[in-house]
């Protein structure tokens, strides 16, 4: 047997094999599409078998059989065109014309006299090539518009159709150029073999090839999940992964519905809950955990007919999103027509749903861990705060108790001595400190925002700054506290603004254990009053600049941690200033730090002549 014959036989066997595979598939799942594909390969198998039988058994086929064989061959590209038409839309006129040509030529083949001449053969070949090319072009267009596995299969089918047309063209060429007959035959048979291989890949791809294509799709999906930032919220994640699945499958729309345990319902995160009546296919898939392909959803699910038609959705594929025993939801892919290779797509959808389930479970676990960590952190902050608050309360209490005992002791020993006024003042100061601290505790525990600022009145913050500076310098020998600036009026709660300035100055003293200069600068910039409290102390780490304004949070450097404190002060300052409509922030200096406060200037300033610059320096 020559190589040419071997190729021909292999080609014929290949077509029979495809026919059998498609037949088995059609028996399992009958549908019009499989039927037309079955018809196509059935016709090819019959033509191939007839020529094989005549060659191998050395039979001369009767003319009638040859006529039928040729007629079948002419029907072939027309069936192919029908297959293409079922996958996508074709020009109606093109189809009509090809149907007419097919009918006329097939009929003519059965009655045409022998030896009619080469022009007739040319006509047949021309028809075959044109219609096959028309179908090929349709498949190419389908390949271009589809995605993923479908695209690859469409490409294979398009090549197969092109090879089919070429094989016939080359097979008849020896009639017109007999000098190269052998070359034509060889080329035609090679084309035939390429045709059967392409169709094999396109219509019945082997599992290994499918897995390869699926792997690519799954990798694409994994890359999409890896690209999702850990902070993304669920609606965003679900939307993004849904889009990725839609892109992989080449369907226009994919919905991820997740099970809401509280509501006992499936819902799409981020979308308003839709009361889907009765037992929808999505709910059925979730309940049965069996994936489902619905070629005609409006018909199969008439309750939601309006919904499907409204979105121009006809076909529906649904797979459960399940990780082990955890039923998380369903993944539903919609299409405006039944997908070309539904089984294939459904299998891929199942794999994607499984991946999605794994991803969602991992994310839920991560969230759980983050939540636990946040809770632990909150507990730690609370414990530290309680210890610090107790410490802060105990210090003035120690002085009050000790001072009282000491004074009593002195009075008992020498009743004639006058009461030491300085000690009494000290007692009062510490008692006031305790009062302020307990007030802070109540303030910090107040839920929500608001309620910090009472009666608003025009006040000169520069005056307050001077008073705060004078009071502070009297209390620390190692710090020089000064305030400077022109009169600046704001509309504010005097007690609260004094609290903010005192707190900032106290902090400046507290966090400058080695002493140093502390300055309060007030200036007006247009409609804004700007206060700045600067020190030469320990400074603030860049990472802490914003954090220190949170409740119970404190500077994280070892030097700052060694200084006792509750983490209430700056939190309260921020709330007071924000409630005044102002802003407070911290700045890191080369040496020390500077706290800024901006407040809206009160309109009264404009009517007053600017006072002379005041400056008080005390130490």
């Amino acid at each position: 047997m020559s190589a040419n014959d071997l190729i021909r036989d292999l080609t014929n066997l290949g077509f029979v094999a495809i026919f059998l595979a498609v037949a088995i598939r059609t028996l399992r799942r009958p549908g019009s599409r499989s039927m037309s594909i079955l018809l196509f390969f059935g016709v090819v198998a019959v033509i191939g078998s007839l020529s094989a039988a005549s060659t191998h058994l050395n039979l001369t086929l009767p003319l009638r059989i040859v006529r039928i064989q040729v007629a079948l061959l002419l029907v072939l590209p027309w069936i192919l065109l029908n297959v293409a038409a079922e996958f996508g839309t074709l020009s109606r006129n093109g189809r009509r014309l090809s149907t007419l040509a097919m009918l006329l030529l097939t009929a003519s083949v059965l009655v045409v006299p022998r030896g009619i001449g080469s022009w007739y053969l040319l006509l047949l070949v021309g028809y075959f090539t044109l219609v096959a090319a028309f179908a090929t072009q349709a498949f190419v267009r389908l390949a271009r518009t589809s995605k993923g596995v479908t695209r690859r299969r469409m490409q294979a089918v398009a090549s197969g159709s092109a090879f089919l047309a070429l094989a016939l063209l080359l097979g008849t060429a020896n009639r017109f150029a007999p000098a190269w007959a052998e070359a034509w035959t060889a080329l035609s048979r090679v084309n035939g073999l390429l045709c059967v291989l392409s169709y094999f890949v396109g219509f019945v791809p082997p599992p290994s090839l499918r897995r390869l294509w699926q792997d690519r799709a799954l990798r694409q999906f994994l890359q999409a999940t890896a690209a999702i930032p850990p902070t993304a919220d669920l609606p965003h994640i679900v939307g993004r992964l849904g889009d990725t699945v839609a892109e992989i499958l080449g369907t226009p729309h994919v919905t991820v519905a997740l099970w809401n345990e509280a509501e006992q319902a499936l819902e799409t995160p981020g979308s308003p809950p839709r009361g889907l009546p009765g037992s929808t296919p999505v709910e059925r898939v979730f309940a049965t955990q069996q994936s489902m392909f619905i070629p005609d959803a409006p018909k199969s699910d008439p309750a939601n007919r309006g919904l499907y038609l409204g979105y121009d959705m006809r076909a529906l594929m649904i797979a459960p999103i399940t990780d082990g025993d955890h039923r998380l939801g369903v993944l539903a892919a919609f299409a405006n027509r039944a997908p070309i290779f539904a089984g294939e797509d459904l299998a891929l959808l199942e794999l994607l749903a499984t991946d999605l389930a794994g991803f969602l479970q991992r994310r839920a676990l991560d969230e759980q861990v983050a939540l636990t960590r946040a809770r632990d952190e909150a507990t730690r902050l609370k414990e530290e705060f309680l210890a610090a608050a107790a410490h802060d309360l105990r210090t003035p209490l120690t002085v009050i108790l000790g001072q009282a005992q000491y004074m009593l002791r002195q009075q008992r020993r020498s009743p004639q001595l006058p009461i030491d006024r300085e000690s009494l003042e000290e007692l009062l100061h510490e008692a006031e400190r305790m009062r302020d601290l307990t007030q802070d505790l109540l303030d910090v525990a107040r839920p929500g925002t608001g309620g910090f600022v009472g009666q608003l009145a025009p006040i000169d913050v520069t005056v307050i700054a001077h008073e705060v500076a004078a009071e502070a310098s009297g209390r620390s020998a190692r710090h020089q506290v000064r305030a400077q600036g022109l009169a600046c009026h704001v509309l504010g709660d005097e007690r609260r603004l004094r609290q903010v300035l005192s707190n900032l100055v106290e902090n400046a003293i507290k966090f400058s254990p080695a002493g140093g200069a502390i300055g309060i600068d007030i200036e007006r910039d247009g409609d804004t009053v700007h206060l700045a409290v600067a020190d030469e102390g320990l400074g603030i780490a860049t990472d802490d600049l914003e954090r220190i304004f949170e409740r119970f949070e404190r500077g994280s450097s070892p030097a700052a941690e060694a200084i006792p404190g509750t983490g209430m002060g700056l939190f309260l300052c921020r709330r007071i200033i924000e409630e005044h409509g102002g802003r407070i922030w911290a700045e890191r200096l080369p040496r020390g730090s500077r706290f800024h406060v901006t407040l809206d200037a009160a309109p009264v300033d404009a009517d007053e002549s600017p006072e002379a610059e005041r400056s008080s320096i005390a130490s």
Partner: protein, 125 residues
């Protein structure tokens, strides 16, 4: 009898403890943290009354340095926090804030009694 160092970052407490001690006939000197106390430390220092939580140098860091220098001055911890661990580590007595003035004076007298001659009798009413 040597000077008593009162080491506390709280000015009010330094002032109170010093007043109480001086009223009882001792001489005292206030220091705002461990570092200041190390600088004020002399051979004449008779006792250190020490807070634990302080900036710059904490009480336990000061104690470690004191031991390293083999300074003989006895120490009394006066702290608002839990001082048990540090007190045990350095084998020194501790008093919790808020403290009782009489208790402090008794402890000061007893501690000094162990090392030196007894101080002046504490006047009691």
């Amino acid at each position: 009898m040597g000077e008593i160092l009162v080491v506390d970052d709280e000015r009010g407490i330094r002032r109170l403890v010093s007043a109480v001690l001086e009223d009882a006939g001792y001489t005292s000197r206030g220091c705002a943290n461990g570092m200041e106390a190390l600088e004020a430390l002399t051979e004449e220092t008779g006792l250190v009354i020490l807070d634990l939580t302080m900036p710059v140098m904490s009480g336990d860091e000061f104690l470690r340095e004191l031991r390293r220098r083999k300074h003989p001055a006895p120490v009394i911890i006066l702290s608002a926090g839990n001082a048990a661990a540090v007190a045990a580590e350095f084998a020194v007595p501790a008093l919790a804030k808020p403290f009782d003035v009489d208790e402090l004076l008794t402890l000061v007298a007893a501690t000094l009694d162990d090392r030196l001659t007894a101080p002046l009798p504490i006047p009691r009413s």
